[in-house]
Amino acid sequence: MNTEQLLSDIGFIKPEIAIAITLVVIVVVDLIMGKNKKALPYISIAGLVITGLLVIQQFGTSVSVFKTSPSTSLLVIDNFGLYFKIIILLASLFIIFFSMASNEIKSTYARHGEYYTLIFGMILGMFLLSSAVDFILIYLSIELLSLSSYVLAGFVKNSLRNSEASLKYVIYGGVSSGVMLFGISLIYGLTGSTNLYEINSLIQLQNFPVVTLLIAGLFVIVGFGFKISAVPFHFWTPDVYEGAPLPITAYLSVASKAAGFAVLIRFIKITFVDSIDEHGFWQLISVVDWRSIIILLSILTMTLGNFSALWQDNLKRMLAYSSIAHAGYMLLGLAVLSNEGITAIMLYFLIYLFMNLGAFFVVMLIANKIGSEDIDDYKGLGRSIPYLGVSLGIFLVSLIGLPPTAGFIAKIYLFIALVDAKMITLAVIALLNTVVSLYYYVRVLRNLYLVQTEEKRPAIKMSLLNSIILFLLVAPLIIFGIYFTPIVNFAKSSLSIFGF
């Protein structure tokens, strides 16, 4: 590899570089400006917008860059990764706005420089994760992502729950990534490579001991499962989600999960898929039965997520479990092992982005006012907050997956993929889960509207900015619920993974 090659490769990671530059700019500006930190969010937004433009520019490219050998590389730039980068960027953009509105984050005004730096650290980690095809890079990006999020989860220092969340997160994350690293070492020991494509061709050529591959794979899945909070690797999720500052919780539940899914899909598809038949179904190399493993994980994930959510009194915690459940649904799309399934996941994520962030946003605005995330404290609130209440209603209905919201489109695409693969039983299980989920989502609506209280509930004044953000979150759910051609087309066109 020569310098020219390096320079031309750098051209392909402009978005990542833009993120890194923004990160550095924030650090520098923070140092220069001293106590005045007002500019930081706007710098972040500018950085994100520029990055977004760069990402959009890249659509359609399909190259592998940073070659480690003539046949292997660290990164690939393909539409699949770019799609997830768009999701990550959108989520990040919203999170910046959330942070500006959040009382929790406002209370840490003095450390805003670090806050935005860490956010950008996460973004960089997620960007690399979405495109990485080498275990080394995958591991290190996960660590970059994790390190930033550990700190962010405990960012409000003097809050016990923040600190507790942070500690649990770091211990859990450290062990998970350690186990994953051990798994990677085993794969390396078998194949002598860390590149997914190379591993794939080696597995196809040679007969590696299946059980070793299985345990190594499982170890790797521990790491990925930790990121997407798939059961049984999810335990940190509710505790950390509840404890962390709300914008960070929202961010973890969408962006970090998206990156995790991107890498998980890549891992399975690149490493273990033999070929793709004319119907878009993936033929697994017959070493590890990934389909069964993922089916099991997804059933566990959605079932546990939904059933545990029934019990939660804290809305944040409930949403944490709900996000676990949604991860379960999305895993189903992977379990199908088909292009259609992946399209369904991608579509799901795009919609999930709006509905989940929206729900968190409303919860945050209400918490700002009433200082509680307890569902029982929402009683009778509906009439004093008409717009927030209705928006929350739409987000929750969308999370349930009822038409005419986009949540329905997300679900139906998933079920279309499942039925297409003749996995009817799974579809039934998922649908029954949907019914269970109704209980706890509707419970919020019930407290908002059905319960009548004597006491006067406070009205919540919304700033213009917040109203616009709220609108930007609600509108796509309704519009895409009724006319979903564009997002489906977007997801379908982004299906191309490099090398296939």
Binding site: E278, H279, G280, N339, E340, T343, R383, V397, L402, P403, P404, F408, I412, F415, I416, V419, D420, K422, I424, A427, V428, L431, L432, T434, V435, L438, Y439, V442, L445, R446, Y449, L450, V451, Y483, F484, T485, V488, N489, K492, S493, L495
Partner: protein
């Protein structure tokens, strides 16, 4: 054809109304009510125009060309590169003789429910907005011919209904609302699954000759459109059509509600405010049976024939069981609710006959039950408004103070009993005539006739307990009906008597379609049998 998009108008007009209602300030309560009344009133006018322009000779059911007032546009058209090919969902609405009576019914019942909503004073803006949203959902279900569209409308009704029961309902409204919500959602997920299964089993040919999967219900009814690999395709020897039929049927049965899925109904009715009970019983219950007629029967004709006996059995159970349960009730509204269970049993029985008289009877019974039971719930509402109790044993001798009202009650009750010359009789008689003619379900039909007797027993018992006998002094200052209440009852009474005396217009309205359907199912048997050898 007709250039006026009647069906879109009648379906989406309430949405427009909802937007206006939402835009009005809270203080303009009169304006909100009048907007709603105007919207529902226009719907009745449109429905009347549709009936006036309706061509009685066209059959519909499975043939797109013989549907009327058809509007078909590309809605979702995804031209992806994926092997799945194009995804095509149409905005496809139209009516035939099966849906036309129900469209009319919906317009009328909604209009009357609006009048009955006049006294709502709590959060009335929200109420009427949700009410209008519900209206759109109901209309949409009856006009949709694309399964996807149908499903969206079907689910669209859930949430407004949840809130309408949950916010404006009685003491246990939350329980009732969530129960309704859960049950119907549970039902609809089965429908959803079958819908997707059917999607993968049906392809239609586009103008350019390419084949695409489709949600078009009418295409699903045509065996030529089947894809051999589809799990619900009759061409597939390992198809799951039987299971799918049961799932689909269960989904619809919950809405009917069919024993043993009926337990949400009494609770929902008891807690719902009067106008919502009226809508619920008058229109929503019909959607279950309508769904079976519109979707299950023509898409799965061969299984329909196989399972006709079971459908009739459940019809019979509904009739007898509902009637006996109604008899045991003390709560007036609950009794009426169970009577709905019983009356919907006739619809099932009629459909199971698979012949013209039975299905005509079933469709007519849907219409008649819609009007009669709407009236019954209004009756309970009138009394509840004045006394705030529904315990039948707490009344007595109401007729002394409210003679006109009692007259209305008598008409409604006798209509519910199936007294000849009132509409209920025609449909019940048709159901029995149709069902009795079928050897297979004759015994069930004979058992079902006990419903005639039991119906009279519980209705008259209720009439006696509440209205006859010595006046309970507690109610010494009851007032008879006022003008608004006349406005609710008189149209319904006129409809009930008109259909009872001269049912031909209604029967003619549906006749071609019913005949088409009967023939379709009968003919399908041979077609589908030819695949059995695979």
């Amino acid at each position: 054809m007709h250039s006026v998009p009647y069906l879109s108008l009648i379906t989406f007009l309430p949405i427009l109304g909802m937007i206006i209602v939402l835009a009005l300030p809270k203080s303009q309560s009169k304006a909100i009510k009048y907007v709603t009344l105007l919207v529902t009133g226009i719907q009745v006018v449109i429905a009347a125009l549709i009936m006036a322009n309706y061509n009685y000779s066209l059959g519909g059911v499975f043939e797109e060309s013989s549907f009327q007032f058809v509007e078909k546009f590309k809605w979702i058209y995804i031209d992806g590169f994926s092997w799945l090919g194009k995804i095509k969902i149409d905005y496809f609405v139209g009516i035939d003789g099966i849906s036309a009576p129900l469209l009319l019914l919906t317009a009328i019942v909604t209009f009357i429910a609006t009048i009955s909503s006049w006294k709502i004073d709590k959060q009335l803006k929200g109420y009427f907005a949700l009410f209008l949203l519900l209206d759109t959902g109901m209309m949409g279900v009856f006009v949709a011919l694309d399964f996807f569209l149908f499903y969206i409308f079907w689910e669209l009704m859930l949430l407004p209904m949840y809130f309408l029961i949950g916010i404006w309902g009685g003491p246990r409204r939350e329980y009732a609302a969530i129960k309704f919500f859960l049950y119907t959602l549970l039902g609809s997920i089965f429908i959803l699954l079958v819908m997707i299964g059917l999607y993968f089993s049906t392809q239609e040919t586009l103008a350019d000759g390419t084949r695409v999967f489709t949600f078009n219900m009418l295409s699903m009814m045509n065996v030529d459109n089947s894809v051999a690999s589809g799990i619900l395709s009759p061409l597939n020897p390992n198809n799951l059509r039987f299971i799918a039929y049961i799932a689909l049927f269960a989904g619809f049965a919950i809405k009917i509600p069919m024993f043993p899925f009926h337990t949400w109904l009494p609770d929902a009715h008891v807690e719902a405010p009067t106008p919502i009970s009226v809508i619920l019983a008058g229109v929503l219950l019909k959607m279950g049976t309508y769904g079976i007629l519109r979707i299950s029967f023509p898409i799965f004709p061969e299984i329909t024939e196989q399972l006709a006996w079971y459908i009739a059995l459940f019809g019979m159970i509904n009739i007898i069981y509902g009637a006996l349960c109604a008899m045991a009730q003390r709560d007036f509204k609950k009794m009426i609710a169970y009577s709905s269970v019983s009356h919907m049993g006739y619809v099932l029985l009629g459909m199971a006959s698979l012949n013209t008289m039975g299905i005509s009877g079933a469709v007519l019974q849907m219409f008649n039950h819609g009007t009669i039971t709407a009236m019954l719930f209004l009756i309970v509402g009138v009394l509840y408004d004045r006394t705030h109790t529904r315990d039948m044993d707490a009344f007595g001798g109401v007729a002394v103070k409210m003679p006109v009202y009692t007259g209305v009650v008598t008409v409604a009750f006798f209509a519910a009993i199936g007294l000849p010359s009132l509409s209920g009789f025609i449909s019940e008689a048709f159901v029995f005539l149709g069902a009795f003619a079928v050897d297979l379900i004759r015994v069930l039909t004979i058992i079902s006739t006990a419903g005639i007797l039991l119906g009279a027993a519980y209705m008259l018992w209720a009439l006696q307990r509440v209205y006859l006998g010595k006046l309970n002094e507690k109610w010494a200052d009851l007032k008879d009906l006022d003008g608004r209440e006349y406005a609710m009852f008189i149209p319904l009474i006129l409809i009930i008597i008109f259909i009872g005396v001269y049912p031909s217009p209604m029967l003619n309205l549906m006749n071609s379609s019913v005949n088409t359907m009967v023939k379709f199912i009968a003919d399908a048997q041979t077609i589908y049998n030819s695949f059995a050898g695979f």
